[in-house]
Symmetry: C2
Subunit: 596 residues, 2 copies
Amino acid sequence: MAYQPPVRDHAFLLRDVLKIDQYAELPAFADASIDVVDQIIEEAGRFTGEVLAPLNGVGDKQGCVWNPDFTVKTPDGFKEAYKQLCEGGWTAIGSDPNYGGQGLPHVVNLSFSEMSSSANMAFSMYPGLAHGAYSAIHYGGSDEQKDLYLPKMVSGEWTGTMNLTEPHCGTDLGLLRTKAVPQADGSYRITGQKIWISAGEHDMADNIVHLVLARIEGAPAGVKGISLFIVPKFLPKSDGSVGERNEGAKCVGLEEKMGIHGNATCVMQYEDAKGWLIGEENSGLKLMFVMMNEARLGVGLQGVAQAEAAYQAAVSFAKDRLQGRSLTGPKNPDGPADPIIVHPDVRRMLLDSKATIEGGRAFLFWTALHGDLAHAHPDEAVRQKANDYMGLLTPVLKGYLTDKGFKICSDAMQVHGGSGFTEHFPASQYLRDCRIALIYEGTNGIQALDLVGRKLAANGGRAVMSFFAEVDQFVGENGDDAELKPFIDGLASAKAQLQDATLWLMQNGLQNPDNAGAASTDYMHLFGLTGLAYMWALMAKASLAKIAEGSTDPLYATKLTTGRYFVERLLPDAASHLAKLKTGSATLMSLPAEAF
Amino acid sequence: MAYQPPVRDHAFLLRDVLKIDQYAELPAFADASIDVVDQIIEEAGRFTGEVLAPLNGVGDKQGCVWNPDFTVKTPDGFKEAYKQLCEGGWTAIGSDPNYGGQGLPHVVNLSFSEMSSSANMAFSMYPGLAHGAYSAIHYGGSDEQKDLYLPKMVSGEWTGTMNLTEPHCGTDLGLLRTKAVPQADGSYRITGQKIWISAGEHDMADNIVHLVLARIEGAPAGVKGISLFIVPKFLPKSDGSVGERNEGAKCVGLEEKMGIHGNATCVMQYEDAKGWLIGEENSGLKLMFVMMNEARLGVGLQGVAQAEAAYQAAVSFAKDRLQGRSLTGPKNPDGPADPIIVHPDVRRMLLDSKATIEGGRAFLFWTALHGDLAHAHPDEAVRQKANDYMGLLTPVLKGYLTDKGFKICSDAMQVHGGSGFTEHFPASQYLRDCRIALIYEGTNGIQALDLVGRKLAANGGRAVMSFFAEVDQFVGENGDDAELKPFIDGLASAKAQLQDATLWLMQNGLQNPDNAGAASTDYMHLFGLTGLAYMWALMAKASLAKIAEGSTDPLYATKLTTGRYFVERLLPDAASHLAKLKTGSATLMSLPAEAF
């Protein structure tokens, strides 16, 4: 069975859990009543399921083809699908109305993005990268730059890219060498090689707006001397039409990769390419992080999105495949065997997946809603708290949800048995595609380090204290509810362990940063588990309320069972993460490099 | 850096930990003094590292090619390497001297097999499957069949296969339909389709001996009506030379797979193919399990082998890649950045891997040694206990070590960062290749079920009781040794949790088999952790003894550090597995199939 966009689950989150109607006074939500949003996500489901999903396997098999004239051919059907994407206005959902965008809440855009990524991850990266570039120009560009570039990027006529990595410099951007030489006309000449540039060249849009990190001649060494440049494939004329080719900006090759074959991962060669500075000199890293933070949330979303698609394939297989009998007697006595979904261990894999996907999706949507509040809520205290949450939780969502996404894709393959290892079933592609999400936009280890080394300590720990206070309040207000009790108990226990770990980090990480580094990944996972425990408590509460109102929709009972499963079978990992991180770094660091 | 066979670590296990010289009175060990074995594994290291490893990437990129004349071309170099394998006598190491084998201990064969699988998993499956077929004929064939087939299989001139799976029947062999019709000359005509037949057709050997499960006309339904047949590609003449083509046995296609591209995974079509019954009618499953149990141990070994190769690649990358600075100040101050092995989170991934690989290897070797004792020890009590261990531990080794092997290959990719996702580095191939090991020869879920449903209960739980008694004795004898204390404490704690889980299973699994099924995978992992804790205690004791003797080989100090890391950072998962499995099956089973 092909991917079915989880429209009903998205509606549940937006309507019953996040209750987005309560924000009608905010600009983005004014035109986004829940009824309107329901229609949008219905339509998003139709578009992604019917147009993008059928091209997913095609993209994997054909891949992208680089031509000696420095062009790249995308897989059959991608170009036409991209045209439909633009015509449907899907590139514009969350963008600024001043530049032709629809100005809808970020959380609504996220709903579309998840479906789009589930349906076709490689395809969805083209508009995904473009939106990151849009955000950086929107945030840091001059009015002239915004007027020139943003309308085309919002409409999708032009796409965009992020150019950070060079062969010798990935995580450590301080080492970057690409040079920018100022010209008399105010532009710059950019020279250097950038690698792993997703969507760096393709045949789907009229222009590609490369955002390139480079070092202006004479700039300070390290990360303080990095500036950000707009380097378009075609130089725009002042009327916004496409002018001559920026000859110095070329894709000179594609990477051969384990997955996301439908996305062009380019080696970009810049040789005296024409570019324009965005923002101030030497402030490129700050601007790049505008794109990066958005991208990191998007990558966390890819973890959930691939997991959802893979999970659906596994469920479908588990219901169809007849093999063996239930341990408690035949469940399909008239057939030659029972469907394998009767087996507890198959259910274990499916429920591990379902509980993590739905909890993770809620955590993403809940955080994205805070992004909307951070932008536009009238109360400064709300804005500050929301902004704190975005900073704190972005690395958790990126790292935790992509680690889990890969595990879920692997379990989905496992449910398929031998079929899963063949390329006749989609499990292999999901597993191969999703693996990159643990790496790009900062490896998950970098996310964990960002969390413990930067985000936790920012503003004296204000963000994490807010989060603890919010959870404590929720626990206090709901602790007496008998039906909610298992969820509240699970949440309180996870939060206590997270707080314990936080205290340990404060005491031990400051005195020896290696302790923080050694603890970082376990801490990130403990945080992820706690976040999901909170989400499951919120979802359980919303579901109980609907049942109390008399709803007979089986979704609510299913939510309660899945949430209970989360508490019983996934939360026990919290104690294991806590025990591991408290062992510190002594053993880890004592082994000399040559002994590995 | 290319794969370096871990010759020194194998020697440590065989000489210092297992002390194989103590078994000199057993026939297999008579010619296998530790000095001779040292030479064999040195030579095994040379052969696998120099001949097989360089073909690993070639096999992945070229794959196997099926031709319309039903032949299969293996990747360039495979045929020549196979010739060298045979000439070096590597196909004969563990085989019966009566048929030209060297009769060396199984544990020595395992050492070669690990290196061979690390160097080139796809290649090593050709002789691996052949050895499984050899074992089944050796166990169940008539003297005439043994005389006809075994010498050629031992020399490697002929290879072999296992034919179980059909499109509608994998795990559930009771559903199999392939038919065998008796002929007047005592042979049978075999008709049916078999899929996923590894090494089913290739161009490296003179003949391929297919062992095929089929149902003799009129046989009972289900697994009780299955017989095993020898169906050779070429019909042997009575002098042992190759005769006419068995026209009805053909490879009609190859599977497109995520990995092990160098191994031909065949769709075999049998149409009135000529075959001969092995053993009794309707006793095919028992014979197949002779191959299967050997194969399962071999698959557990593949988990460790791929992990070792991937780990080595990750270590090499982590030492070479300069990126960022140590959290405690520059460690490579004259370079542009520090090698990433200075970072605690990189070390965490590498040490998780190293501690699991070395513990897993020890557990495999230790178990394989029991295989040797089970065959040949003069004391019946020793034979029985060894045989019990083989039965009990085979599913643990297969399931636990391949689950962990995949995790380690994924971590190795993670250490590589973006490079790991490209096909220019070996990480992707290791990850893709090793994934099949979680599936074939019975999925890991099936291993877990075999463990809790069959092996645990066999003979009133005698095997697991022996294991507990052995661990208790070791703990008792060594508990007062201050230097060993952390290892003994870790082992005692893991064993107590495993015993607790075993008791829970006895109480709850019998009354409701779904409880056993729901607990099975966590139980298998808890068992694996306990086994490794025992191995690390044994290795620590052996290392301390060498240090006390005055050895200054840094290997021993490294073992102690790695073992401490295992206790501190991997054993905490035991509690998590115990907590999960004790939640039972109620929540898991309560969700209706349509709610997934």
